[in-house]
């Protein structure tokens, strides 16, 4: 119980201090671009609840989810294919390295040309940025499957789908999850950027609208909301990971002990 209390104190300590500093430093501010935190926090509920939650926050999050899931499926699927065949790997690797090096935001204007400015464009942008860490990590994970485990599977006639499902994917799952974690933060960035280019709803769109209409405290609330969203998603990710990779953390802890 004491340990838990301490853990909670540690977790909220620094954010509390930073918010306190912000509060104190901005409290007397009369600069219109730098409103007091008090004002921002007071504005927050009226801006982001009710109508705007439905019309801007939910569409943003849904597009993020769609792009992310798409990237996850494509990344794991292609990564498994590339990782398990040496020929395919040698053939694809230079191209992959090139494509990965292209910053995804620069694709927004290009993707707009053929996907328009609707949801499809934004989902494609998010997916095209998220797919790389998943893909490359999956390739590495699939490639690194232990040779003794592979021989075990062969000698027990575990092949095809069974081999994929019971050996290759679980064995690569720590790397796949690492890739998914990187992809999540990239996804949030691209969600905002894609909405800043051309959109009629979404969190990114709303923040830009506030800035253009000099609703400065409202703009600041948008930034707080994005931070909060990112934080909540990463907490959710952490719990999902603990569940899926419980074996991996246990295994690592047991090798450290011995």
């Amino acid at each position: 119980m004491k340990a838990l209390t301490r853990q909670v104190l540690f977790a909220v300590g620094l954010p509390a201090v930073l918010l306190g500093l912000w509060w104190a430093a901005s409290d007397a501010s009369t600069d219109p671009f730098w409103p007091p935190l008090r004002t921002i926090l007071r504005t927050f509920p009226s801006v982001w609840t009710g109508e705007r939650l439905r019309s801007d926050v939910v569409p943003s999050v849904l597009r993020l989810a769609a792009g992310y899931v798409l990237a996850g499926l494509a990344g794991v699927g292609l990564g498994t294919l590339i990782g398990s065949r040496r020929g395919v790997r040698a053939f694809c690797e230079p191209v992959l390295e090139f494509l990965r090096a292209v910053p995804p935001p620069v694709l927004v204007p290009v993707i707009m040309l053929f996907a328009g400015i609707g949801d499809t464009m934004k989902i494609v942008v998010i997916a095209s940025g998220c797919v790389w860490p998943v893909l490359l990590n999956t390739v590495e994970g699939v490639r690194a499957v232990d040779s003794v485990m592979l021989e075990t599977a062969r000698s027990y006639h575990i092949g095809g789908v069974g081999r994929l499902r019971h050996l290759v994917l679980p064995s690569a799952s720590p790397q796949i999850v690492a890739g998914l974690r990187q992809a999540l933060s990239i996804g949030i960035i691209l969600m905002v950027i894609s909405e800043m280019f051309a959109a009629n709803n979404g969190i990114g769109f709303t923040v830009v609208q506030f800035q253009r209409s000099f609703a400065i405290p409202d703009m600041w609330t948008g930034i707080l909301l994005l931070g909060l969203l990112g934080f909540l998603l990463s907490v959710a990710f952490h719990f999902a990971e603990r569940r899926v990779l419980g074996w991996y953390h246990g295994l690592r802890a047991s090798t450290r002990r011995s």
């Binding site: 003794v148 021989e151 062969r154 000698s155 575990i158 047991s254 090798t255």
Partner: protein, 275 residues
């Protein structure tokens, strides 16, 4: 049952050819427990992989019941030395044991029965829900043995299975292997570099030479069927047999050194100076 005929395996490694196994011919009869013993690095694992259908020999053949082995044969199970890398850490013990049966298409009720029985046979009836990494090394190897047993093989290949466990655990596991062999009538081929282990376990010991490997000697172990760690290992006959095997292995090493210095072209290989 298991016929190895003129088996030869060479590896093509970075510009030079390495002959791991030169010419091996021997037979394992149904229901026999045969130990293969040889100096370290003599190609025991290569040989075992050829027998298990995991490697194809350069020439010669392996016959199981008269049928040439070209891939892993259905009636064969392998217990690897590296239990930690052979069991799947993301599956619980029972799932590990069950997986090959699932892939084989064994019905669910039968699977459950086989898994429970196998775990009981290796002395781990309560470990079904544990993860392998929660168990000690010896227990993990027991799980690997249980997985092999549940598979109901005719032939069980064991590749230095106890090389990585401590001496006391090892003695227990040796007795377990003998017990299971007697109970189940499986043909067991046990590869080891430990001379005492080979003599203690085997009905027959095949002594391999240093690499490139040939059969150096074969001998029948005429110890009583009921063996135990305490009495068997101090019996005069045991000592005679182990001395004999030891001499054969020394002779094999000497021959390899003579061979190497005669060629004087291969400074590595197994020709380390005696010390």
């Amino acid at each position: 049952m298991l016929d190895i005929r003129g088996l030869r395996k060479t590896y093509q490694g970075s510009g030079r050819q390495v002959e791991a196994v030169r010419d091996l011919t021997f037979t394992v009869k149904a229901g026999e427990l045969v130990c293969l013993v040889g100096p370290s690095g003599c190609g025991k694992t290569t040989l075992l992989k050829c027998m298990g259908g995991l490697l194809s020999p350069t020439s010669g053949e392996v016959l199981l019941d008269g049928v040439p082995v070209t891939g892993p044969p259905p009636g064969m199970a392998i217990v690897f030395q590296e239990y930690g890398r052979s069991l799947f850490p993301w599956m619980r013990v029972a799932e590990n044991v069950e997986l090959p049966l699932k892939e084989k298409g064994t019905p669910k009720a039968k699977r459950r029965e086989l898994v429970t029985d196998a775990l009981r046979s290796v002395g781990l009836p309560d470990a079904a829900d544990a993860y392998p990494w929660q168990l000690s090394g010896g227990m993990q190897q027991r799980v690997a043995i249980a997985r092999a047993l549940a598979y109901e093989p005719q032939v069980l290949l064991m590749d230095e299975p106890f090389a990585a466990v401590d001496a006391q655990t090892r003695a227990d596991l040796e007795d377990l292997v003998r017990l299971l062999w007697q109970e189940r009538g499986i043909t067991v081929l046990f590869v080891t570099h430990d001379i005492d282990e080979a003599v203690y376990l085997g009905e027959r010991v095949v002594v391999l030479s240093a690499s490139p490997t040939v059969v150096q000697d074969e001998l029948y172990i005429d110890l009583p069927d009921e063996r135990d760690q305490l009495h068997t290992r101090v019996s005069p006959r045991f000592t005679e047999l182990r001395t004999h095997v030891y001499e054969q292995i020394q002779a094999a090493k000497r021959a390899a050194r003579a061979d190497a210095s005669a060629l004087s072209a291969a400074p590595d290989g197994d020709g380390r100076p005696a010390g």
